[in-house]
Structures are given as structure tokens and as C-alpha cells.
């Protein structure tokens, strides 16, 4: 395309108008990314040392060290476990709830509001509610161990023995169960919202046609609803995985900044938790961990996109 002089002049103007936005992006997005890469590639990097004039050797030392670090491996494992369980489960639940919501008229608004509540509530506040429900104190002077919390009360009412969910002496399995429940519940509203929107935009004639064709409700769900919703489902799964790998606030909400029950702090630490921990003392290691996290998310997203290209229709 040929450019006239006037267009060139206009281009110059366009850049001028874009300048404020570009400047902000450069300072708060582009530079931090570049700086993270730089820090991760400098051996034993720390900001304090750099300020006092220390020169660092260039190399992949931080990456090697981080991957050998036991607490990093634990964080990676926790994160993987949480993501792999919560994303499929919450997506399926959200799909079922969305379909149910879409098929009722009576009380639909009320149910919608109930399901969307977690979306508008602060994560830490929800975490504290969970903490209370699953027995925060775990007994104490004059209190029978594991007697507090609505969940244990219910278990006892049915004749079971109370379980230490999050308190001192609780098992990691119990901790994980609470955490997974919390994350799934917290992830539902957004997914329901997206899927319900998708359902409402599906042409009703497909359902009428399927009815005339004699399809059962189950077949309509699997052969019509799910394929027609597949773009939405793919979107929800991809964002779910990204969110899952960045899991942090849920752990803080339930277990506090110790990232675990009092007798075993750091037990439930996640990747982002690891990065936060190291950001104070060892920025080089934190940067390397952040880049590894980025690489994992990128890889998972690419796999997701590849799969959805094969499976998502039209």
C-alpha cells in the first residue's frame, strides 16, 4: 500500500496519542518482564547486593538450583495436584448446574444469585468462613478436640467421628480435601456464568429438531448441548488451568500465610507462594521460579488449544 505524506504525518500523531499508554505499559509490564528474565539469569542475584555494587555472573544457575530445591518440588506437586483435580471437576459441575439453571424457570434468579455469590465475595473472607466451617481451633483448654465447626457437627450427628480438617495435627489429605472443595466452589460462578451465557445463545431449534428426531435427554446433552457449547467449555478449561497454576490466595484464606497447619507450615505451599517467599531474599531464584511457572502455563495452554482445535467444532 502506498502511503501519502499526509498519512505519514497522521501516523506520527497516532504514536503521540498512544504514548501515555505505551509509557505505562513499558514501565509496568514490559520492563518487569525483561527484568525478571535478567534477574533469573544472574547467579545468586539479589537487589540489595546489586545496589551495593556487586557484579553477578551470567548463567542458568538459578534454574538449576530452583529445580533441586525440595520446597520448590513440593510446591510444584501441590499446584499440579490442585489443578488436575479442581479444573475437570469444577467444569463438569458448572456444566451440569448451568444446564439445570437453563432448564428451570421457577426460582431461577434466586439460584443464579446463590451460585454467583462466591464470585462477588472476597477470597480471604470465604477462606475464613471455610476455616470456621472446618474447625479452625481443633480443641483447646476445656474444649474437646475437633468439636467445633459445622462440618464436624454434621459428621457427629450422623454418628461419625470428627476429623481434624485444618488444625494442628491434621493430615495432609484432610487439608487437601478442604482446599479442593474451596477452590471448586470458588471457581464455579465464573464457569456457570460463561456456560449459561453459551447455553442461552444456542438456537432452540436444535433442541426442537432433536426432540422430533427422538433423541433422549441424555443424548441431547451429549450429542447436542456439549458439542455446541464446546467453545465455551474450552475457554473455561483454559482459563481454569491458568487460574489453577496461579493458586495462592485460597491457601492463604484457609491456612494463613503459613501456607499449612501450625505444626507443618508450608505444607500446602503453591508455586506462587514459593515465588512470594523468595521475593524478599532471593530475587534471582524467585524470577527463575516465575519463569518456570510461565513456561508450564504456556505449555498447558498450547496443549489445550491444540486439543480444542481438534475437538471444538465450528
Amino acid at each position: 500500500m502506498q502511503r501519502t505524506k499526509g498519512q505519514k504525518k497522521n501516523q506520527w500523531k497516532a504514536w503521540l496519542y498512544l504514548l501515555p499508554a505505551l509509557a505505562l505499559l513499558a514501565v509496568f509490564t514490559v520492563w518487569p518482564i525483561i527484568n525478571t528474565i535478567r534477574m533469573s539469569l544472574l547467579k545468586d542475584y539479589s537487589i540489595m547486593a546489586e545496589l551495593s555494587g556487586t557484579k553477578f555472573r551470567f548463567g542458568f544457575d538459578n534454574f538449576v538450583k530452583v529445580t533441586r530445591y525440595p520446597s520448590f518440588i513440593k510446591c510444584l506437586g501441590n499446584t499440579m495436584l490442585l489443578t488436575v483435580i479442581t479444573v475437570p471437576v469444577s467444569t463438569m459441575l458448572a456444566l451440569l448446574i448451568a444446564v439445570a439453571l437453563n432448564s428451570i424457570k421457577f426460582l431461577r434468579r434466586i439460584f443464579q444469585t446463590i451460585f454467583f455469590l462466591p464470585y462477588v465475595t472476597n477470597a480471604i473472607a470465604i477462606g475464613m468462613v471455610f476455616m470456621a466451617m472446618f474447625d479452625i481451633i481443633g480443641g483447646g483448654p476445656g474444649i474437646e478436640p475437633s468439636s467445633i465447626g459445622i462440618i464436624n457437627t454434621i459428621i457427629k450427628a450422623f454418628g461419625g467421628s470428627p476429623i481434624k480438617w485444618v488444625s494442628t495435627g491434621s493430615t495432609k489429605t484432610a487439608n487437601m480435601a478442604v482446599l479442593i472443595l474451596y477452590i471448586i466452589w470458588n471457581a464455579l460462578p465464573f464457569k456457570i456464568l460463561v456456560l449459561l451465557g453459551g447455553l442461552q445463545s444456542v438456537n432452540k431449534q436444535y433442541y426442537e429438531a432433536a426432540k422430533v428426531d427422538g433423541a433422549s435427554r441424555f443424548r441431547i446433552f451429549w450429542r447436542i448441548t456439549v458439542p455446541l457449547l464446546s467453545p465455551m467449555i474450552a475457554y473455561v478449561v483454559i482459563t481454569g488451568f491458568i487460574g489453577g497454576f496461579k493458586e495462592y490466595s485460597s491457601v492463604v484464606g484457609i491456612f494463613g500465610e503459613d501456607m499449612g497447619p501450625a505444626h507443618d507450615p508450608g505444607r500446602l505451599n503453591t508455586m506462587v507462594g514459593f515465588i512470594y517467599e523468595n521475593i524478599k531474599g532471593n530475587q534471582g531464584r524467585a524470577s527463575a521460579a516465575a519463569l518456570i511457572l510461565f513456561a508450564i502455563i504456556l505449555a498447558v495452554t498450547i496443549i489445550n488449544l491444540y486439543v480444542s482445535k481438534k475437538k471444538v467444532h465450528y
Partner: protein, 443 residues
């Protein structure tokens, strides 16, 4: 399969269920017997209840009252999947994520129990149907990779694959361009003849309905106006609405009167109407009902001549015409006889229809009475009942007596007419605009 509709009525309640005044009576006391293996065209302007009728036959909508029979089976309460129908939607509703083959196979895969076919049989049937509608080359394509006409044929194949007792088509051609529409229309006719499945076809395009139907049913505001073979209905309209709705270019309407057995348009005595009571009438004259004649009795002012090759269309005006222009089609050889501003016509008696101004019902005169009786007799021989609904028999009048639903008495017509004058005006405007479109094509 014979299809019988008895007193079929559909009332859509208003949003506020107690508020009866906002109810919409979409179909009002619809009676029809469709002979086995015929193609029926349900014809009417938008909102006349033809699609609702079709959806009630399909089972997707439940009638408020009345019964539906397939053969001797009462299917009124049956779910759509148990009725043995094939339905083709206006926009086809092909499953976008399935290939053509999967779309056609879908109804077969839903069969259960003893009706279930083996995989090979399913494929065989799907291939047979695909060949019938000539889409077997595209079996592995997605609907989005097909043209409108091809999608349309896939939809028909999907409807036919379970060998339905009745095939229902909801405005199947309205999403196609003009050329494809003609082609697909022939295709539907061919498929129907090949399969011999009783077919009900909904359309608002009178030309479409006339060209492919064995019988047409003309509807207006939920009421059947007339039924019969297309040519019969065209040649012998029962009332003003049917006369105006059928025919392209549309019928020419004049204000006239019958006095002492003579039909007058304005001051001119145009035809002998012996035996007809004195009354004010609408005079409908088909465009082909004019004969150019120097001693002609009807005088019009010529405003133009459209040449169409074999024929010419004389566009003229008359102060007694209700339409903006009078359009007459005469042989091109007579073009030389049009001289000057005024043109005089003689009228062909069987192309002139009189309608009472108040009831809008046909007033027969001269040889028409005998012709009309002959037609009714011919219909009876074909096992058909002659329908000539009152134009005034509109649904809303009977609202408060919804359950009994008596026929509206003639005398109340004037009152009802007031209620509907707005609607009629709107539809008249629509007709006028579609008429101008047609004119454009002719030129």
C-alpha cells in the same frame, strides 16, 4: 397416511395469565382432512397461524383444544418423537458440529428396542436417502461448507430417513435465492412424488404454494379462508381476501355497485348481472380478464405499457380503482390498438369477481353460479369439503366464549371490522409494496 385436524385451536395466553384480553388466538377452529400421499400447501400472510398449525401437527406445540388424527390414530397427546413425523425447519436447524452423514444418521441412532437398526443398515438407509435428495457426494462435509440449497436437502434427508408417516415443511424455501427456490421447489415435488409421503408445506408465497401443492389451504388470522386445488381457488375465490392474496400481478379491485341486474363501475355499466340483488360491491378483475376493445365499457387512463415479450401489461389508472394502478395483461399483438390517453376494455365474465362490501363474501352472477356449483361437486368427488369462511369470523370476537367457540354471526361484522382495520391497513401496505417489487421484476 391420512391426516385429520378436528376443531384445532391454539390460544397463546398473554403474559399476565389472568388478562384474557391480550390472548392471541393463533389458530381458530381449524378443520381439515388431508388425503394420503398428497402435498398440501398452507398459505397465508405472516401471523396467520400456519406455522402454529404445523407445529401442532408435529407435536412441538400442544393445541388448546381440538384433535389431530394420523390415519385412525389420535395423536393429539403424543410426544413429537412418537408421532412418526419428519420436520424441516425454516432455517434447517442442521446440527453444525456434525457432518452431513452424522446429521442424517442422528434420528436413526435414536431408535430404541426392536426398531433399532444395525450399523450397516443405518448407513445403507442414510445413503439411500442421501441419493434420493442428491447430496451423497457431500456426506463428509459440515453444514457450514454447503450452499443453502444443499443444506435444505440435507434437512429433508434427515426428516425422511426414519421414513415418517407425515413430512412437515416450515417455509423451507424462504432462505434461498430466487433461482434456487425454483429448483428446490421442483426437487421437493419430485421427492414427495417418489416417496408418496403425505406432506404439509407452509409458505407465505402464493406462487410457490400454487405451483407445487395438490391442495392449498388459504389462512388468515387463524381462520381457514378457502381450501381446494390451486387452480380452483384461483379461479373461484370464496371471498375478498383469497382473491386479493392469490395471483401475481395482483387482482385489480374496483368500487362498484349492482343496480337493476347491471354491474356498474363508477357510471359505466360494464357487465350484465341479472338476478343479483341491488348492493354495493367490490369488483375484482384478474389482469388477464381485460379485452381491449374500441367499444369497451370500462374506460381507464393509460399511464404506461410494460412489454414482456409475448404479452404486454397495460398500466392505467381509474378513479374507481382501489389499487393505485390498474394492471391488465393483453396479447402483444394488440399493442397497436392503444392510442391516446384513454383505453377501453371489455371484461371476461369468469375473470370478474364481485364481493359484498360488508361481508366481503363472493357474490356470484351470470354463468359463475353454475361454475361454482360444478366445482363444489368436483371437490366432493375428491372427498373434500368446500370451505368459504366468513372474512368476519375472526378469533378475537369469540374470546370470552373461548371454550364454546361459536361461529361469528354475520351481523356483528361491522364491529369486528373496526378492531381489525389497523391490521388490515398494515397488511394492505405490505401487499402494495410486494406488488411494486413484482413490477420491478417484470420490467
Amino acid at each position: 397416511m391420512k391426516v385429520v385436524l378436528q376443531h384445532l385451536t391454539k390460544i397463546f395466553p398473554s403474559r399476565n395469565k389472568k388478562d384474557k384480553s391480550n390472548e392471541v388466538v393463533a389458530v381458530n377452529d381449524f378443520n381439515l382432512e388431508i388425503p394420503d400421499g398428497k402435498l398440501i400447501g398452507l398459505l397465508g400472510p405472516s401471523g396467520c397461524g400456519k406455522s402454529t398449525t404445523l407445529f401442532m401437527i408435529s407435536g412441538l406445540q400442544a393445541p388448546t383444544s381440538g384433535k389431530i388424527f394420523f390415519g385412525d390414530d389420535d395423536v393429539t397427546k403424543l410426544a413429537p418423537e412418537n408421532r412418526g413425523i419428519g420436520l424441516v425447519f425454516q432455517n434447517y436447524a442442521l446440527y453444525p458440529h456434525m457432518t452431513v452423514q452424522q446429521n442424517i444418521l442422528f434420528p436413526l441412532q435414536n431408535l430404541k428396542g426392536e426398531n433399532r437398526l444395525s450399523k450397516e443398515e443405518m448407513l445403507k438407509r442414510a445413503n439411500e436417502v442421501a441419493r434420493l435428495v442428491q447430496i451423497d457426494e457431500y456426506m463428509n462435509r459440515k453444514p457450514s461448507e454447503l450452499s443453502g440449497g444443499q443444506q435444505q436437502r440435507v434437512a429433508i434427508a434427515r426428516a425422511l430417513v426414519k421414513m415418517p408417516r407425515v413430512l412437515l415443511l416450515d417455509e423451507p424455501l424462504s432462505n434461498l435465492d430466487a433461482r434456487l427456490r425454483l429448483q428446490t421447489r421442483e426437487e421437493i415435488r419430485r421427492i414427495q412424488r417418489d416417496t408418496q409421503i403425505t406432506t404439509i408445506f407452509v409458505t407465505h408465497d402464493q406462487e410457490e404454494a400454487m405451483s407445487i401443492s395438490d391442495f392449498i389451504v388459504v389462512m388468515k388470522l387463524g381462520v381457514v379462508m378457502q381450501t381446494g386445488k390451486p387452480q380452483w381457488v384461483y379461479d373461484d375465490p370464496a371471498n375478498l381476501f383469497v382473491a386479493k392474496f392469490l395471483g401475481a400481478p395482483p387482482i385489480n379491485m374496483f368500487r362498484g355497485k349492482v343496480q337493476d341486474g347491471v354491474l356498474y363501475i363508477g357510471e359505466e355499466a360494464v357487465l350484465d348481472a341479472a338476478g343479483v340483488e341491488d348492493q354495493e360491491v367490490y369488483v375484482g378483475i384478474r389482469p388477464e380478464g381485460f379485452i381491449l376493445s374500441r367499444e369497451g365499457k370500462l374506460t381507464c387512463k393509460v399511464s404506461g405499457v410494460d412489454v414482456m415479450g409475448r404479452d404486454i401489461s397495460v398500466v392505467s389508472t381509474s378513479e374507481n380503482s382501489i389499487n393505485p394502478v390498474v394492471r391488465s395483461i393483453i396479447s402483444a399483438e394488440e399493442m397497436g390498438n392503444i392510442t391516446g390517453d384513454a383505453v377501453k376494455f371489455d371484461l371476461k365474465e369468469h375473470k370478474v369477481f364481485l364481493f359484498n362490501r360488508e361481508t366481503e363474501q363472493r357474490v356470484y352472477f351470470g354463468g359463475q353460479t353454475a361454475a361454482h356449483e360444478a366445482m363444489i361437486k368436483a371437490m366432493e368427488e375428491e372427498g373434500q369439503a368446500y370451505t368459504a369462511a366468513l372474512t368476519g369470523n375472526f378469533p378475537r370476537e369469540a374470546d370470552d366464549k373461548a371454550k364454546e367457540r361459536p361461529a361469528a354471526p354475520k351481523g356483528k361484522f361491522a364491529k369486528i371490522k373496526g378492531i381489525f382495520s389497523k391490521k388490515e391497513k398494515a397488511s394492505k401496505e405490505k401487499e402494495a409494496s410486494s406488488a411494486t417489487e413484482e413490477n420491478g421484476e417484470v420490467k
